[in-house]
């Protein structure tokens, strides 16, 4: 007999192995070397989280009790997968274009980004998934017990409750570690997906292994097995046709609506074409999983004592024949099925809870707008982590409450029916333009209530007040309301009864509600986008032009999707608009795109609300409504051509306008340049001339000048002469740099040393106030090939500027360095002053563009112009980084010098 301790050890090392695999996949993803990790095979295998412990252990038990009926669980999804082009492809396409994060997000987004629906579906999903998670905990606990009972006195007491608690805790840890690394739900969880793909293989091997052992090890091959099946009570079970069809449809519906299935099917989908492969490969996988269910059930009933739990045949059969290796693999298979389901379900649910419940609440507490300080990302991540723990805690409590005694299949059905209540709103939403928010809310509420009354609450039995009396006579003796014979429909199987009533009433109310209510404008736009997702490529154009400041948007975006991601997004957009820097025009198209990006992190409803706080209310024009009301393919095509043209024109116009503005500015600057040069040269010369005349006259006059004045005046002449020289040096330097005639001394050095040197140099100058420096010395240790003197000159200039101009009470300059994937180095200098006003940001790198008066500046206003030229000569760029709170400069230089550039 296999030692129980050994089993615990195997289980722990398997869990460790999963952690390692997930970690390895995350690392590869970070380096952008996913390769085969994002192949259709991995996608197909990840879909196998449909096969939970319920299918692994429960299917055999199911078959032992009800014969071939267990196959319904596999037939539903198979039908959905084979008909994938019809619904799945549409879902995946919508999910990708609208950056949908969950089922709740899909429904909420479709029905006018409704917060109410988001909350409703989230609650439904949490309530519906809880029994399912309980089921997984129960099956793992039971499987441990199977080994424990056979081997008492082991190191670990095989207490069901304790086992379930430990398993739940381990799952929380794994899910938080690998499920909440990224905020953006659309950035896929590569580690998790890879781990569950691996688990898919393990559970397949486990079940097929036991099957092969049963057919050829215990039995005498296929012929003998068929004879045994014929003789077994399993094949004598009568099949209820209605129940069979109902269950098939139910499992198909659940396949689409289960939060975890939506997560792997839509959210984690890397490419639409992976569906092609999954379309035939996944049914094949299901077929393999179901092939040996009947033989195992038949043999189990045959050879095992009548008291043994059919749900555990997969384990008890190999154990009876002392096949320890096979039993272990089978055990790990069951363990895999349970854990992979719980992990993905917890991720999916935590995304829903944080996006649809926590964020709206958080947002409503901050009416003052989304741009105020405070990190949104940490709020979201924390709420996700807490939700994961919360979801598993709920599952654990359900497990304790329901007594852990029910047959696995029964709990699974409850869960399936609950979550299937989303189906009418989902299908209606993607196929019927007339579906409205009111209809969806009413339908889901009714379906949910009926399900809870006829199926979910009865599963608690007496604990929820469902006495035998209530079941037999209805509440208060009202016969029509008997939970399992609603409206006098008697003699129907309880499951069929609940499924049919809840879904029928749900659909009916949904249709009726949609027909009698009138959709709001946003709903109409979203409806058109969802239903015609294959025809629509344009945007919904729901934002008005020019009401939002790009800088405010950047500040908000940085806090939600992260600083570097937001900066990249804004930079790319600005470039596409033909602008430089980080601030694109807040065009409706850009707002649209930004909203979708934000939606990928916090869900459609929240993203819409947050953007609304900055960009003002949503504006839907009459034209938009008309376009939605009667668009024909022709009109669409025509308008999209026009749109392309006008976009092109707008881009050119924007470029021209910016070029023109710049030219005008430059021509004014050219004039100004001459008069500036004149001024900068003449001012020191005035002092020099005046004092040299004074000294000359003093020499000629009768009374000689006193020595103090003599020293003082000649000192002034000396200083002013030096000032002149410095100015001429700067001008020459600039001219050499501008003409590209500068000779650079390339050498290898450590960036840290360069920054250190610049700080030392500026610390000596007495000019300006005390400046605190904030830096991370460790991240600065980057080997770089550059002209050390020149790079230090740039740093010195930026630090000196911060000393001179930072107007904070306690000025602090933050220096951060990082190495980019393209082998560039980015160094940011950010102070905590009031920054540079937007209209000046364009000109600060121009010559003599001093922002303040000259007495304060003390220089000629050439510093930043020289910096720009130096960095350009080093092959990089320097830019002003808006939206950082203070004045912020970003230097971007290549790490290695490429000759001949």
């Amino acid at each position: 007999m296999l030692s129980f301790n050994l089993l615990v050890l195997a289980c722990l090392s398997y869990a460790l192995f999963l952690f390692a695999v997930a970690f390895w996949a995350e690392k590869r993803a970070e380096r952008g070397q996913l390769g085969w990790l994002r192949s259709p095979v991995i996608y197909t295998l990840s879909l196998s989280i449909y096969c939970t412990a319920w299918t692994f252990y429960g299917a055999v038990g199911y078959a032992a009790r009800s014969g071939i009926e267990f196959a319904t669980i596999y037939m539903g999804p198979t039908m959905v997968m084979i008909g994938w082009w019809w619904i799945l492809r549409k879902l995946v396409r919508i999910g990708r274009t609208q950056r949908i994060t969950s089922v709740a997000d899909l429904i909420s987004s479709r029905y006018g980004k409704s917060t109410t629906l988001g909350v409703l579906v989230t609650v439904l999903a949490v309530v519906g998934t809880t029994p399912y998670i309980a089921l997984q905990l129960q099956s793992v606990a039971l499987s441990f017990a199977v080994f424990g009972v056979a081997n008492p006195g082991g190191l670990v007491e095989p207490d069901l409750n304790h086992t379930a608690l430990w398993v739940a805790a381990g799952l929380v840890l794994f899910t938080i570690l690998f499920g909440t690394r990224n905020l953006d739900a659309n950035e896929r969880h590569h580690g998790v997906v890879t781990a569950i793909a691996l688990e898919a293989v393990v559970k397949f091997l486990g079940l097929v292994g036991v099957g092969i052992f049963v057919v050829w090890g215990i039995g005498d091959g296929v012929g003998d097995m068929l004879a045994r099946i014929d003789a077994s009570p399993v094949s004598k079970v009568n099949i209820d046709g209605t129940r069979f069809i109902t269950l098939t449809i139910l499992s198909g519906a659940a396949f689409l609506t289960l939060p975890r299935m939506f997560q792997v099917l839509v959210v984690e989908n890397a490419e639409e074409r992976h569906l092609f492969t999954a379309g035939w490969a996944f049914p094949l996988y299901l077929f393999g999983m179901s092939l040996f269910v009947i033989p195992i059930a038949v043999v189990g009933l045959d050879v095992l004592p009548a008291t043994s739990n059919p749900d555990m045949f997969v384990l008890t059969l190999p154990l009876k024949y002392d096949q320890q290796g096979l039993a272990t693999i089978s055990f790990l298979g069951g363990f895999s099925s349970a854990t992979s389901m719980v992990i993905v379900a917890a991720i999916a649910l935590s995304t829903m809870v944080s996006n649809h419940i926590v964020m709206p609440i958080w947002l409503s507490f901050r009416k003052d707008g989304a741009t105020v300080s405070g990190d949104v990302r940490s709020v979201v991540l924390l709420s996700r982590r807490l939700s994961i723990a919360g979801v598993l805690a709920l599952g654990y409590f359900y497990f304790r409450l329901s007594g852990g005694s029910e047959a696995l299949a029964a709990i699974g059905m409850i869960s399936f029916t609950g979550i299937a209540q989303v189906l009418p709103a989902m299908l209606g939403g993607i196929f019927w333009r007339g579906a409205t928010r009111t209809g969806a809310i009413a339908g889901i509420l009714v379906g949910f209530a009926v399900w809870a009354y006829t199926m979910f609450l009865p599963s608690f039995g007496e604990a929820a007040g469902y006495s035998a009396d209530l079941l037999a006579h209805g509440p208060w003796g009202v016969n029509l309301l008997r939970p399992q014979a609603l409206f006098g429909v008697i003699g129907v199987d309880p499951v069929v009864h609940a499924v049919v009533w809840s879904l029928a009433l749900n659909t009916g109310v949904f249709l009726l509600g949609s027909l009698v209510s009138f959709p709001r404008p946003v709903e109409r736009l979203q409806g058109a986008q969802f239903v015609n997702v294959f025809e629509h490529t344009g945007s919904t154009r729901s934002w008005a032009q020019g009401t939002a400041e790009a800088e405010d948007l950047l500040v908000m975006a940085q806090r939600i999707i992260g600083a570097s991601e937001a900066q990249t997004l804004f930079h790319v957009e600005a470039e596409a608009q033909g602008k430089q820097g980080y601030l694109p025009d807040a065009t409706p198209q850009f707002l649209e795109r930004l909203e979708r990006e934000l939606a990928g992190s916090v869900g459609a409803a929240t993203a819409h609300a947050m953007l609304g706080q900055i960009a003002g209310g949503i504006v839907v024009s009459v034209e938009d409504l008309m376009a939605v009301a009667d668009e024909t393919a022709q009109m669409l095509e025509h308008s999209s051509q026009l749109e392309l043209q006008s976009e092109e024109l707008a881009r050119t116009a924007r470029k021209l306008r910016e070029a023109n503005e710049k030219l005008t500015e430059l021509s004014i600057q050219k004039d100004a340049f001459l008069s500036q040069i004149s001024h900068e040269l003449r001012t020191p010369m005035t002092s020099i001339r005046a004092f040299s005349e004074i000294l000359r006259d003093g020499g000629q006059s009768n009374e000689p000048m006193d020595p103090t004045s003599l020293t003082r005046f000649s000192g002034i002449i000396h200083d002013e002469a030096r000032r002149l020289t410095r100015l001429l040096d700067d001008l020459l330097d600039l001219s050499v740099l501008e003409n590209g005639q500068v000779s650079l001394n390339w050498s290898r050095t450590n960036l840290h040393d360069v920054i250190e040197r610049a700080l030392d140099t500026t610390a000596q100058g007495l000019e300006g106030q005390d400046l605190g420096i904030e830096r991370n010395a460790i991240s600065e240790h980057i080997a770089i090939e550059t002209d050390t003197d020149r790079l230090a000159q740039v740093f010195i200039n930026l630090i000196a500027n911060a000393r001179k101009y930072c107007d904070a009470d306690v000025p602090v300059l933050r220096i951060t360095a990082r190495r980019l994937v393209n082998d560039h180095i980015q160094i940011d200098f950010v102070d905590n002053g009031s920054g540079i006003p937007k209209h000046k940001q364009n000109m600060i790198f121009e010559k003599f563009s001093r922002l303040t008066d000259q007495a304060k500046a003390g220089g000629a206003g050439l510093g930043l112009a020289i910096c720009r030229e130096i960095v350009a000569n080093l092959g990089g760029s320097i830019s002003y980084l808006p939206g950082q709170g203070g004045a912020a400069f970003r230097i971007d230089v290549p790490r290695v010098h490429h000759k001949g550039r």
């Binding site: 001024h679 001012t683 004074i694």
Partner: protein, 136 residues
Amino acid sequence: MSKRVLLIEDEPNIIEAIRFILSRDGWIVETHSDGATAVAAVGKKRPDIVILDVMLPGKSGFDILRELRCDADHANLPILMLTARGQKKDRDMAQAAGVSAFMTKPFSNSDMLDAVNALVSEQRVDLTVADAPRDE
């Protein structure tokens, strides 16, 4: 009694040079470095002559000149303007605004002294001319 000059200029070294040149000649030199409050300073100190730089922090010399000329009290106050830009455009602008004399930096010390003395005596001559008919 010594004549008083108000020097409105922000370059410390130039201030020191002019102060030295004029005070050696018996002038009392007062200075002011901020453009924004220059007009008020003229009203308070009531100098015999103002030397005004063009590029000042806060307000340009041209604006100060215009404001002074708008005020009846200072309509006839001698104002000598100094500029380091030295373009004809600036000279024309200063003349249009009613400057008494205009000088480009760098200047020779004796020119500066002559100009200041000439402006003050010119005004005295003007007064003399105005009084003359009564005498004759």
